[in-house]
Every structure is written in C-alpha cells, then in structure tokens.
Symmetry: C2
Subunit: 201 residues, 2 copies
DNA sequence: ATTAATACAGACTATCTAGTTTGTAAATGC
DNA sequence: GCATTTACAAACTAGATAGTCTGTATTAAT
C-alpha cells in the first residue's frame, strides 16, 4: 500500500498553468509569485525548487503553455482545410465559441507577452519571435498548397499572405479586447472575405 | 527685471512627456515614478503636486500625449488624400521614415496600453476605446467620402473598412516589434494593396 | 537497511515603490 | 505691503515582492 504523497510533475504543472492564467490576466510584470502560490496552495519552497526565478517561469510558460495554446487554437484547426479562401473564413466564423472567453477579455496571450516583454528582455523576444514564426510558417504552407492546387493566385508570395493574416488576427483581437465589443471581429471577418476575393486564381 | 524661477506648466509638461516615454518603453506597470523624477530632475513634491497618483498620470498621458501622437502620426496625414485606394498605400510606404524609431522598437503606445491595461482598469479601458473610436471614425469618414466620389465600392460598410485597417496596422506593428524585422511591414503594405483592389468601384 | 538526493514547507530578508508629510520660497491677490 | 495660495524640495513611511535559508519528510539508489 504505497500512498503517493508527492507528485513533482503535477506540482510543476499546477504552477505552470496557474502562472499562465495570471500572466494572461495581469501581464508578466503584473503577475505575482505570491498570488500563484496562493492559488495553487503551494509555498515558496515548491516554486523555487521547480523554477530558478520568475523570469525562468515566464520562459517556461511561453515554451510550454502558450505554444500549446497556439497549436490547439490556431494551427490544429487548419488540418481539415481544403480551400483556405473558403474554409478559413468558416473557421473564423466558428471562433466566437471556439475562442475561449479569457481570450476575448484578456487578448491573445502571445501578443500580450510580445507587446509587453519583447523590447525588455531578449529571452522573451526570441521566444515570441519563434512562436510567431511557426504560426506564419503554418499559414504559409497552407497557402502554398492552395496555390499548387490552383485555388490561390500564384503571383502573390504565400508568406506575405500568411504574415498579413496573422497581423490581422492579432490586431483585431487587440481592438476587440480594448473596445469590449464584438464589432471588430465582425469587421475582421467581412473584410478578410473581401481580401480573399483579391487572392482568387 | 522679473526672474522667472518657476514654470508650473513646463514642469507638468516635463513630467508628462517623460512619463510617456517611460510608459512607452516599460509599460504602465513597469514605469517607475522614481525613474520619471530622476530623468526630469524633479522631486516627489513636484510630482504629487501636479498628479494625484500614478494612475492619474497614466490617464493624463493617454488624454494628452497619446491622443496627440495619434493625431499627428495617423490622422493629420489623411488631410491630403484624394483617393485612399491610391494615396493610403503611399502614406504607408513613406512611414518607415515618418514612424519614429521608438515606435518600431516599442510598438504603438496606444496598442501597448490597450493590451496591458484595458482589462485591468476601467479608466484606461474607456480612454483607449475612445481613442480607437476616433481613429476608426477618421478612417470611416475618409472612405465614406471616397465612396461618394466613386472611388470605392458603395456596397461595403466604410466603418468596417476602417476597423479592418486599424486592426491591420496595429497587428502589423505588433509583430514588427516582436520580430525586430521589417518583413511584417512590407507584407502589410503589399497585402493592403491586394485588399484595396477588392474595394475598387 | 542505510545513504543520498529530491521535493517540498514556512519563516525570514533585502529591496524596491507608491505615496505622505513637513517645510519653504516664490507667486498671486487685495 | 501683507496675507494667502501655489509650487515645489526632501526626508520619511508603510506595504509589497522576489528571492533565500533552514529544516524535514518522502523517494530513490546501492
């Protein structure tokens, strides 16, 4: 009868997910180590056993939590797409449900950290740049395939389409959050369709 | 011979502009009152004589400094525009010079504050929403006029064009800052031109 | 079974930070 | 010219916060 009284992996995970929520709602600078401990019911000993510092925790949140969210929220849903000019807008239309409430209230966690920390700390900058890069690369591949399939004009650089779309999404989510109104998201959807007409082969 | 040894308006202005720079580079939460005082050479007495609190200073920066920057950077240049589908891209192309270096490094001050503070404090939220609103209104008017002039398709809501553009700009500046590379700005320009083709009457 | 390493608890500390208080010289009002 | 208000200087305070240190029970190694 081996009673498990400790579970270090789970402890680390609790710290990580709670820190992710706190960073998402208050920013990295606004996140308080003490508050994370209060919410997890752990103590200082646990925290500094698993993480060297607050900064290292921030890096871990980016490397593990935010990367995960990027993949599940934005990259995974691309799998089923045949023609992005048709299917991508459908994806966006289904997002009000799919996008968690926390994102509408607190914005995109990746963009938040990018804004707050990219010019403050190189560790953050490199990580957010890497995540944006993988996002852009995924969209680039999507549109390159659509070009070879003949859905999308071949004379436009797929990478620029991808960049533009990521920018549009981040900017729209940002204003959506600032205004606390769904108008920006509606405009984003309708105008992406206009833009996509210009991409048709 | 009246020697002016005090200039309260100038003192307040110095606090305001320095605070603006500090908020722009470190965020509102990252801005330190002590650092503003160090840079201005003033003391606590001066600060709390002119501003009730750090929060009130933040509001004043939004109301005076950031509004001013919005107008000079984004709204004033619209004056000379005849056909936005042609002239707006030209404006963006001239912006690498026009956009100050601080903006490329630290992002858009309005968007930064929106991201950081909109969900934290209602005073900030209302102010950033108001500024976004005036930005969107200015672009809306621009495109409504272009519609009556027959440059732009009349079956598209000018307000949605305006919202979309503001979103595109904010998102692109955001990624520009995060990546520390001009690529996003180039993609933004080229794809806005594609989008504008879809707006032609 | 003994030893060593791991995974914490919990008290403690040094520093930083917004804000206060007191004092005073300059400006303004009358 | 005098009183009052304004515009600061500068020392001080209370509270918060990241990080440390010591101790100890659990787990793993041999």
């Amino acid at each position: 009868m081996k009673k498990v009284t400790r579970n270090p992996q789970q402890t680390r995970q609790k710290l990580l997910t709670t820190a992710f929520e706190e960073i998402h709602s208050h920013g990295f600078q606004g996140m308080r180590v003490d508050e994370v401990l209060r919410k997890t019911g752990l103590q200082k000993g646990a925290f500094y056993h698993h993480f060297k510092s607050k900064l290292e925790l921030g890096y871990a949140v980016l490397d593990e939590q935010i990367q995960l969210m990027l993949e599940t929220t934005w990259l995974e849903p691309l799998k089923g797409i045949e023609n992005p000019l048709i299917d991508f807008p459908k994806l966006l239309a289904s997002h009000p449900d799919r996008i968690p409430r926390s994102m509408r209230v607190h914005g995109c966690p990746l963009n938040n950290l990018a804004q707050e920390m990219a010019s403050q700390d190189d560790g953050f900058q490199q990580r957010v740049a890497g995540l944006f890069d993988s996002w852009i690369k995924a969209y680039t591949q999507l549109f390159e395939e659509a070009q070879t399939k003949g859905y999308v004009r071949a004379d436009i650089d797929a990478a620029e389409i991808a960049r533009f779309l990521v920018g549009v999404l981040e900017g729209s989510i940002s204003i959506l959050k600032a205004e606390r109104s769904p108008q920006q998201w509606l405009a984003c959807q309708s105008q992406i369709e206009v833009y996509f007409k210009g991409l048709q082969a």
